[in-house]
């Protein structure tokens, strides 16, 4: 099959640096304002108020987060908002040493999937871990949300700064 493989011309960085290659650049201007709709709108309102909201399905009884107006398993309308707790369990996690545009980090970011208490088993959301020694993170670790102060919350997933390991004694009152 060798005869049916075309030898693409492999460009290297210095081809650009030395001006051997001509190129055209363009900065896309792609801006959007996505309607949150009913379900996520309510979720964001909940975040601003310092709580996590889920939604339940009348048929399979699952309590889902993020909330949605339809149950994707039963294909029927969900019918009830459910206040969830802001604690949960680490389902999986990573220690990430590069940013989204591939810049090396000294201190790793700590993304995780966190199963939220009050929702059905396995219902996780993606968020970050903080105030924790990266080497000490374990699957199954219990964590709780660290909220930004009320006046800094805007109705976004980042109203939760990160999740930290729970300590036995403290249960922070919600603002």
């Amino acid at each position: 099959m060798r005869e049916y493989v075309y030898d693409s011309v492999y460009l290297r960085r210095k081809d650009f640096e030395e001006g051997n290659v001509l190129f055209e650049t363009w900065d896309p201007n792609a801006c959007y304002a996505w309607d949150t709709g009913v379900a996520i709108g309510r979720y964001l309102q909940g975040l601003k108020a310092g709580k996590l909201i889920g939604r339940s399905c009348p048929e399979c009884r699952r309590v889902m987060i993020p909330p949605r107006l339809f149950c994707e398993q039963c294909f029927c309308a969900t019918d009830r908002w459910v206040d969830l707790q802001d604690t949960g369990t680490v389902v999986t996690f990573s220690l990430c040493y590069v940013t989204w545009d591939m810049i090396r980090l000294e201190e790793p970011q700590l993304p995780a999937v966190i199963e939220i208490d009050g929702a059905s088993p396995g219902m996780g959301i993606m968020h970050m871990l903080g105030e924790v020694d990266p080497q000490a993170i374990k699957i199954g670790m219990r964590v709780q949300a660290v909220w930004k102060p009320a006046e800094e919350r805007i109705g976004a997933i980042t109203d939760i700064a990160y999740f930290k390991p729970t300590s036995a004694s403290s249960v922070e009152p919600l603002e």
Partner: protein, 388 residues
């Protein structure tokens, strides 16, 4: 399969390189015309064109298929683009299959192309936008996160050893040393080399990851009566399957790719396969990361859950093993121009089943093989079973 039987009769591709001088259109053209040349057909013989290409953000053109149309031979022809993320490369021949099996077209040109290098400062950045715009993007996620989260879940669930997983990277990069289009072929690479690479997003290390790549691949697919005229070694499409899981990926069990199993079941049923491990002779599962090859092999029901790594470490999946897996060198070895990578796997099975894989040829006269691709937020499985 009833109705129109469909075969692949020709294939062509470009070298996979980190940054090609050729434009996206030119890459598509090079692969397309080589595919036609390989079966001595011309554009006049082509009734319709199918293009598979993944995020527009890489090539940096909106409605990318329109821009690519001329290079794909679609001038004046029925032309359509299917797009299922990373699954596209194996979905494109499925689309080609239904074009022909519908009875509307006799000969279809299937082209897959990706020019990821257009995206600056780093193509990796475009993946930011695959995450949910409201509930996830504000956290500035990195594509590596989602793989690392899945790899961790998989390894923890079954108590897997990183060394066993690393053997996949070694196998594929060594296999790729025999592939003329390969970017990262290395006949001497060892498990230690992989394990010594820097940690990107633990447990993912650089050696576990396939590279950003530019490239294109094309196939010619025909109906029964045309295939027999064009070649004496048509490779028949025996089964196709595809399936998608929920977009709420954090609600799922990441340790097992249900979406791959669903797609495989659909394809196996169509192909009349009841014992995949025995009846499939070669497999080209999608290997963007080394652990994914194993994850997918289990989803394809070729190995029991949690058992693929030890089989790999034991040599079962080597070219001369009991079930050769990724004899091409896969994405880890040949390269990962998303959609083109998947079609490269289909082309590999095509060449293998015809005995045309040169130094990569698996012994034993294989008669049936499968190619599988994965895509989206750990979400899409696409499977094609082929046979001679």
């Amino acid at each position: 399969m009833n109705g129109n039987r469909v075969a692949i009769v020709g294939a062509g591709m470009t070298k996979f390189v980190r940054r090609a001088q050729e434009t996206a259109k030119e890459l598509a053209w090079e692969a397309a015309h080589l595919a036609l040349e390989s079966c001595e057909m011309t554009l006049d013989d082509v009734d319709a064109v199918v293009i598979g290409t993944a995020p527009d953000a890489f090539d940096a053109v909106h409605m990318k298929s329109e821009y690519l149309s001329d290079g794909c031979g679609a001038w004046g022809k029925p032309y359509m683009r299917g797009y299922v993320g990373g699954g596209t490369g194996v979905f494109a021949p499925i689309q080609g299959w239904y074009h022909v099996a519908s009875g509307l077209f006799d000969t279809v040109l299937v082209v897959c192309e990706e020019k990821m290098s257009s995206c600056q400062p780093h193509p990796q950045g475009a993946f930011l936008t695959i995450f949910d715009h409201t509930t996830e993007r504000p956290l500035w996620p990195n594509l590596l996160w989602i793989f690392a989260l899945e790899m961790n879940a998989y390894m923890s669930r079954y108590g897997l050893d990183k060394r066993d997983i690393a053997t996949v990277a070694v196998k594929n990069k060594r296999n790729a040393a025999d592939h003329p289009a390969a970017l990262l072929g290395d006949p001497n690479i060892t498990v230690e080399d992989i394990l010594n690479t820097e940690v990107m997003a633990w447990p993912v290390q650089r050696g576990d990851v396939s590279p950003i790549t530019d490239g294109a691949v094309a196939l010619v697919m025909c109906a029964n009566h045309v295939a027999r005229r064009v070649t004496d070694k048509p490779v028949w499409i025996e089964g196709v399957g595809w399936s998608i899981d929920t977009a709420y990926w954090a609600n799922r069990d990441l340790s097992y790719p249900t979406y791959v199993e669903e797609a495989a079941r659909m394809a196996y049923e169509m192909a009349g396969i009841t014992e995949p491990r025995k009846q499939i002779h070669i497999a080209e599962p999608y290997d963007p990361f080394d652990y994914k090859e194993l994850h997918h092999l289990e989803g394809l029901m070729l190995f029991d859950k949690g058992k693929a790594p030890e089989a790999a470490a034991a040599g079962v999946t080597q070219r001369d093993g009991d079930l050769p897996v990724c004899p091409s060198g896969g994405l880890l070895g040949v390269g990962n121009p998303i959609a083109a990578a998947g079609l490269m796997k289909v082309a590999e099975i095509f060449w293998q089943l015809r005995g045309e894989a040169d130094a990569r040829q698996v012994p034993g006269n294989p008669k049936r093989g499968l190619a599988q691709a994965w895509g989206d937020l750990m979400q899409v499985g696409t499977v094609v079973v082929m046979g001679v």
